[in-house]
């Protein structure tokens, strides 16, 4: 009887082992499949970028003869000659030009959008709903519609061929999307902290600067990051408003190196493309932590 029970038990144990090992194998197989698929799709997405970096070290002739991304005869020629450009200015000038647009625009956006969002999220004033609706309505307006009126305004102001049309609207909270984003974020933050600050004797501006802005930091970093990348990539804005080559930002300068030379020096274009990607990539990786971080809920723990 005892034997019988024992043997039954060991049989059951063996069954368990079999099932368990089958499960493990299935899990492992699934994981391999998943990662293989992800790797393939990831490579597919990244390949143009990888090829771009590889090709920037190739000679012009190799770009078309060698379809792979690894250069057979690596050369810095594209970088050296691309940096010089076909204009009297080096590529460095165009980098600095871009900064002259990006920096005021990002700072202006951060300050103005925070102020406007704070107003909409925390204060009651006449026509608040109408004004907020108008703000949201501008979100839905296609950019193209405002191009010509804007151009005419800036022409009358005498701002053509300067950077002002490119950053002043944003510095006056012209980007409804960012305002909307910050308003939504603020609405999720309890008001207790601001009320505590007011009881502590802070006025509206002090509350905004010392309490709201630090709480808003993750959203604010996202705003700056988006604005930075979109401005770096903006081609149409500078194309419309900037006419002298010495004021060109990177996006226009890249195009410049394509059509001013007779035979396209592709490796120069590619090399400069890699360089112009670098700041955006660097900023993104630096800010990634904050970008992903949610708001710390430390002050409102129960």
């Amino acid at each position: 009887m005892t034997d019988h029970i024992l043997s039954q038990n060991s049989a059951a144990a063996r069954d368990v082992d079999v099932v368990r090992s089958r499960e493990t194998r299935r899990h492992r197989f699934n994981a391999v499949l998943r990662y293989a698929l992800l790797t393939v799709v990831g490579l597919l997405m990244l390949y143009p970028l990888i090829w771009l970096i590889g090709a920037s070290f190739k000679t012009n002739s190799e770009i078309f003869s060698n379809p792979g991304f690894w250069p057979e005869h690596p050369t810095l020629d594209g970088y050296i000659r691309g940096w010089k450009t076909s204009t009297p200015y080096s590529f460095g000038t165009f980098f600095i030009n871009t900064l002259w647009i990006v920096i005021p625009k990002v700072i202006g956006t951060a300050i103005s959008c925070t102020a406007v969002a704070y107003g909409f999220a925390r204060f009651d004033f006449p026509f608040k709903k109408v004004l907020f609706s108008a703000l949201i309505a501008t979100l839905l307006l296609p950019n193209v519609v405002t191009r010509i009126p804007q151009y005419l305004i800036f022409r009358d102001l005498g701002w053509l061929d300067s950077y002002l049309p490119l950053w002043v609207p944003s510095a006056l909270a012209g980007d409804a999307f960012f305002v909307f984003m910050l308003v939504q974020f603020l609405r999720a933050i309890p008001r207790d902290m601001e009320e505590a600050a007011r009881v502590d004797g802070a006025n509206t501006i002090q509350t905004l600067v010392f309490i709201v802005v630090p709480l808003l930091m993750p959203a604010l970093i996202s705003v700056c990051l988006f604005q930075f990348m979109w401005t770096m990539n903006d081609f149409l804005g500078p194309l419309i408003y900037i006419s002298s080559v010495e004021k060109y930002p990177i996006s226009l300068a890249l195009k410049l190196s394509i059509d001013t030379t007779e035979a396209f020096e592709w490796n120069r274009v590619l090399a400069m493309s890699v360089l112009s990607l670098a700041p955006a990539l660097a900023v993104f990786f630096l800010a990634q932590k904050y970008f992903i971080d949610g708001i710390s809920s430390g002050g409102i723990k129960g």
Partner: protein, 369 residues
């Protein structure tokens, strides 16, 4: 110095009137508790005193000075919030000293005040932590410290203990009342307005208690008076646990009230007090004032014992009288298990614990002396 006066204070939200012209005087150094069920506008009243909510009508005076249009920072008040509302990006030290730094006090003075408050509340080891690294009780103490450092004329507490567990709540209760006494002894003005929905907190902490309902003040009195001489059925029902027993009846003269088809006899003094008043009354008897009578005597109430709950030092007896249920609380020692479940029993009421309320207005008519 720091007397707080509310005069015909009103608050409207659109067409809804939340606070109906309340009048309240809180003396200098007094610990006043505002208590009431949720939605009774106690928090709204507190927020109006703090200046976080605009006043629709009436006056708020702190130390005799009208503060209706002053900013919260200029009213000489400080407030402890239900959710602590610590600034999450500042360390405890900065949280405590925020108000002083706004006023640009010299750093030596800030340092000294911070350390003094930290010592008082035993939070010195926490000074370099962020709020998210604190437990609920520690965060609460930091919040109290932040209020304390301002040396305000009036402290406002908005349900500060409701986020803590029961044990911590009991110890914080003692800590806050101790602190209030200590400040008083140190000759610092320490008028306190404390909002809670918890009657235990109200009864144990308040010098006086202001019971509110639907934006009206029902009664302002010290805990003992509130318990023994409630002004109306609301206060009688709200204060005390288990709740006071109410029986509708008619006053029949001869010291007796007919309720639940039985004649309940009251003490002699009642007739004198109530003569000439309405005969439709509500009889109110606290569970602690009901006893099981040994035998039927005139004036006792007959009912069926339906539940017996043994609570340790006392026993809750549930007695059905017709459709009404009464609760009697008797000390365990005196409950000899003579009466069992489903037995018929006679309850006698201690005449000193019996109240008569006007059935229409709810007013306690047995108080008039």
């Amino acid at each position: 110095m720091a007397r707080l006066q509310l005069r015909n204070l009103e608050k409207d939200y659109g067409t809804f009137r939340a606070v109906h012209g309340i009048n309240l005087d809180v003396e200098d150094g007094e610990f006043m508790v505002l208590v009431g069920p949720s939605g009774c506008a106690k928090s709204t009243t507190l927020r109006m005193i703090a200046g976080l909510e605009r006043v629709t009508g009436g006056e708020i005076r702190i130390g005799g000075e009208l503060v209706n249009d002053k900013t919260p920072g200029d009213r000489g008040i400080s407030m402890v919030f239900q959710n602590y509302a610590l600034y999450p990006h500042m360390k405890v030290r900065k949280n405590l000293s925020f108000s002083m730094r706004l006023k640009r006090r010299p750093s030596a003075e800030i340092e000294q005040a911070t350390n003094h408050v930290a010592g008082l509340l035993e939070i010195d080891p926490l000074l370099d932590r962020l709020p998210k690294q604190l437990s609920g009780g520690q965060a609460q103490r930091v919040a109290v410290g932040r209020a304390l450092i301002k040396k305000p004329q009036v402290f406002l507490f908005d349900e500060p203990l409701s986020n803590l567990d029961a044990k911590l709540r009991a110890s914080m209760r003692v800590r806050i009342t101790d602190l209030h006494k200590r400040l008083k002894a140190e000759n610092q003005q320490a008028t306190v307005i404390y909002v809670t929905h918890d009657q235990t907190e109200a009864m144990t902490m308040g010098d006086r208690i202001c019971v509110m309902k639907d934006g009206h003040i029902m009664q302002v009195a010290d805990p003992v008076t509130l318990y023994s001489r409630p002004a109306n059925t609301f206060v009688a029902g709200f204060i005390g646990s288990p709740e006071m027993n109410f029986l509708d009846g008619t006053f029949e003269g001869d010291n007796s009230v007919r309720a639940a088809e039985q004649l309940v006899t009251l003490g002699d003094e009642f007739t004198k007090r109530i003569s000439g008043r309405s005969e439709h009354v509500t009889l109110g008897i606290r569970p602690q004032h009901l006893r099981i009578a040994a035998a039927e005597t005139p004036g006792t109430i007959r009912g069926k014992l339906t539940h017996i709950e043994f609570m340790g030092h006392e026993v809750y007896l549930y007695v059905d009288i017709g459709p009404k249920r009464l609760i009697a609380v008797v000390p365990s020692a005196s409950y000899d298990r003579g009466a069992l479940r489903d037995d018929w029993v006679w309850l006698s009421a201690d005449p000193k614990g019996v109240h008569l309320f006007d059935r229409q207005s709810g007013e306690n008519i047995s108080l008039a002396i």
